[in-house]
Amino acid sequence: MPGFRTQFQGYSVRFSPFEETKLAVATSQNFGIIGNGRQYVLQMGPSGIQEVRVFDSVDGLYDCAWSEENENILVSASGDGSIKVWDLAAPPEANPLRSFEEHTHEVYSLHWNQVRRDCFLSGSWDDTVKLWNLAHPTSLRTFAEHTYCVYAAQWNPQQADVFLSASGDCTVKVWDLRQPRPTLSLAAHAYEVLAADWCKYNDCVIATGSVDKSIKVWDVRMPEQPIATLLGHTYAVRRVLFSPHHETLVASCSYDMTVRLWDYAAPEDALVRVWDQHSEFAVGLDWSTLVEGLLASCGWDEMTYAWHMDADPRTA
């Protein structure tokens, strides 16, 4: 379907876990360097993508996440270090519902626990990851081991207490809430690691994306060697996401403006598709969990697209 143009540059797109056609897009003014932010809630329809709600914020928004327990709750990660909680069912005056202000630098990543459903993680440029619960006014835990910006924090889809964090200190750390220290510190790349994700069908496999333009697939039980290295992007890899429906399918987006689909089961021939719908950095990507093969991407060209992986993003 035709793309949706947001007013500010897109940073993150997330499908709603409750409604197949609902999307959230976190955007920032002036490419997120300086200015305001705006959280969009969009609806896919027969004639394209329509805007349902917008929430304005003082600083740029870098990521967003839907609540797994309430279809109306949405959280946004802001450049001023705050996490905004939005309630779609509440009137504009009541929004944001909450503003968690603990991080001292940009919050770059948010991920909601899909097993326990009541808590979420935030990854920040203040080098920490924090654990939150909406019922609690302050963070539950702070994980401070990284020595540079944390770009991504992702829960393991099957293990309720396990998550990973990807950082500009070139490592990916695997954490367990039951342990005080990371269970694994993986020197995944020689350059900053901007993205990492868990395989949805094998709870020991992760993929990492880096400034070195490569995507590496690892088994955390064998951290010395990647299972596969996926080469093809011509600039830093911004997001990597395992498909919720196919064990070996990985989608990625990059500063080279492309969104790519890989199948690491055949690592020599891993690149399946290249999509070039964006005319600026492609920085937001998501798989739908409700509709098999449905992808969404957003970028600095202010465009948000939703398409089936077998189709063309601009016309699907």
Partner: protein, 463 residues
Amino acid sequence: MHRAQQRQAVLLGHLSSAAASAAEQHTIAAQPTAAGDSAAYERRAVAEDDVVIVSSCRTALCKAKRGGFKDTPVDDLIAAVLKETIRRTGVEPEAVGDVCFGSVMGPSSQRANECRIAMFLAGFPESVPVHTVNRQCSSGLQAIAQTAASIRAGYYTIGIAGGVESMTTNPMAWEGAVNPRVAESQCAQDCLLPMGLTSENVASQYGVSRETQDAFAARSHRLAAAAQAAGKFKAEIVPVATVLKDPKTGEEKRVVIDADDGIRADATPASLGQLKPVFKKGGTTTAGNSSQVTDGAAATMLMTRREAVRRGLPILGIFRSFAAVGVPPAVMGIGPAVAIPAAVEMAGLSLDDIDVYEINEAFASQATYSVDKLGLDIDKVNPNGGAIALGHPLGCTGARQTATLLYEMQRRGKGARFGVVSMCIGSGMGAAAVFERGGEVDNPPRGPVASQLAGLSRDAQVA
């Protein structure tokens, strides 16, 4: 390091050439941006010595002899707009360098004296001088142009320019004999033609049909009625407390006149089509598609932009250019078609740049001709009606049109940047002036300081 710079640094790290393979040796580094202000058209040539208008107001326009001002002395009309100008701007009267009023039919010296009297009635001290100016129907605009020129020339900093006409007191007339030598020149003779006959000349020479004229006239009434109903004239009209004398009993009634009384909301091309031609048998010009004879006054205050900023006065408009041209007296109505391009060119613009026109509707014939000759978009012309509905108090009209134009441009905001006031002039002339909407200048940067904007392009919008 400020946040913005930090974020740029992080992003730059992602694009670092250190991660580039040997094959691709692009050097990506932060550069001070060469991107300029992409909104070049929006950037205004803002000069401290621009002549700006900080106030523009008028009395209601009332039918001569029968309307709201039929018993109002001329000096009361002038005093009303002068007083309102001072009230709106808060400028102390003694700071005004000169006052200039356009006036046509009043006896020259007497009218100039009436203006002086009016100034005293309005509370001006004796130190402020006054004069009148007469270029027939353009006198009100001429007064504004002259005042702007005087400010530009440095004669004074603050001036009031306006216009007045009481056609109840001074109807159009020729006093005394006509020099027989006018027979020597066709043009000289044509100067004596009644205005209505020049309208017939324009209609026949340029093929403006009766139907077209009536349709234009109905449009004027319709738009004026709509504007009046929507309260659009409230900003420019100053209510005048006066009396109305019953002609039979002599009884005086105190009234406040604050609405134009010439507008016929029910006028249609059909109803106007019933009227008989009044100037020429078998002609097309009727009372319905001609301007009305009217009483009214208007005034604007002009000053340098420097002075307006110093006083903290909001700027309604900026005076940009003026042109007066000559045309054959027999078809004096074509004046705007010649004057408008001249004034627009002098402002360094083209007709496409003009967003709103106030073209005086002396007659529907000449107004229609002017619009068609210049290929103007009719929706830009007299959007709030014109002299056919509102009236044409000769000396006041130019200043009245200026008030209506400036407030219409204010209402449109960014939708209107330049406007034109123009009219034809009896005895064969035309005049036009270009105004720019005021109120927006290159705003000084608010919020983030220069260091925070380092590296961003000039049109980066920052909260």
